[in-house]
Amino acid sequence: MSKKQITLGDKRIGRRAFLASSAAVAGSAASASLSATVARAASDENLPPHVPSWMKEQGAPVLSPPYGQPSPFEKNVVRRLRTATPTQTAASTLTPLQDLHGIITPNGLHFERHHAGVPAIDPDQHRLIVHGLVEQPLIFTMDDIVRFPSESHIYFLECSGNGSWTGTNAKSTAQDTHGLVSCCEWTGVRLSTVLAEAGAKPEGTWVLAEGADAVALSRSLPIGKALDDTLLVYAQNGERLRPEQGYPLRLFVPGYEGNINVKWLRRLKLGDQPFQTREETSKYTDLMPDGTARQFTFVMEAKSVITFPSGGQLLREKGFYEISGLAWSGRGRIKQVDVSTDGGANWTKARLQEPVLSKCLTRFRLPWRWDGAPAQLQSRATDDTGYVQPKRAQLVDVRGLNSYYHYNGIQTWQVTQDGAVSNAA
């Protein structure tokens, strides 16, 4: 029996299976340019009444590869560059929200925002220094950090630049419009625990967090939030952080704008005033119509987006569809999501998929029968503070068009008679 298994696990079989699947991928990619007849003839061979080719031979052996990868047929479900930037190291990439299910973002699809690329950090060579207004400045290895009592939470993380005050590109997908948000289970130690270890002095009111990347990215965090639910995180969805998420250690500030969740964390300094870093003065401040700018606008307000049907997708026929999307709030739990199919004239309460967690993506669903007429799909989130996601016009009325960050207006997807879905902003 075991001998047979070894024979069946032979590399040649694995390779043949792989080649077959590669050919199928190539065929699938090429089918758009080939004639419909050829494509259909090829695919019909695996459809009833024929026996599919993958039932006629052994599949790939175990450990191919040791770290599992998505099916090759899912090769288009990838992060994409947000905008063309002068360098690929100060850039951002977007999560393909329209292709994901449930609330968890797979680690390889978590959005990225780097200011100086992804450092290649050997965890044994990494240190965290905690100093400033503390009784005893301390230095920690990663082995030290993981010895502290730990906790895990599912939290969203969103860049405050997610969404556009001005952009109304009809071709935008949900990835383009909202892809700077992701959601993972994060594991680490409470910042309050580590600050207590160093003996934080009561006059300490702001914590400087600094990364070990090539811009030593730094932000100031108010002590109230630092002692509330802020974490020093070393694991993401069950495994150690991905390098692009701050391996081996990052700050995680639930519900606060992405930039303050400092990656590759190497230093925490307790002070009695904000440190006025470049990231909290010249960037990540919100310019108002009168020329003043709001500073320290940390929280990500309630927001939602329909991920199906969404920009770039196609409804091939009339009939039943489940409208589905994501809602979240940096202030707490999502209490309600309403969906409109007529551009906001009428609203229907969507079903919230459990779990509904604080500062976490919440999946909502609503059954819908498309009658083939044009439709304008919108979703509107309400959180447990009673805050209702605003319309674009309501936001612009107050903040103008130049504040760049913290856009959370209601998104509209236009469905045309032919079933095409496009961005109507």
Partner: protein
Amino acid sequence: MPHSLRIVLLCAIVAAATANPVRAAEPARFGIGHAATADAIAGWDIDVRADGRGLPAGHGNVADGRKIFAETCASCHGEKGEGEPADRLAGGFGTLATSKPVRTVGSYWPYATTLFDFIRRAMPYNAPESLTADQIYAVSAYILYLNKIVPEDAVLDASSLPKVAMPNRNGFTSPDPRPDAP
């Protein structure tokens, strides 16, 4: 009291106070990590606050800054800080309340100290933490000169840099007024 002794005592106090004998008591301190030496901290303690705390000894002038800027900064920020491909550093005065705001060091940044802090930690982009304190003071002086904030004969150091009057010093508001819409 030494760190370790204090922890032992705290453990004893917490253990005595706990009602559940099965669960190990969580001490206020765990005795994890080591004392960070002044030397170790000094090498990493690079932040500069708005009041100037953290600024190192040294000084730099506009003329030296112009040379350093031309050699190490201009290829990304433009000869006179006009920007492209990287951020524009100069000009933009009077634009913040218009439909096309131009945010530069001169028109937008509230503190001159941030300039030193950011150059020291992040610039030049292809060789961060490579400039000396004197060079950073000089480049800061030149960028402020390009914005007509300091005169051509300005010399900046730890005492003068925090005193530079930035035009948009009072342009920032906090705390956060949200929720503000609707």
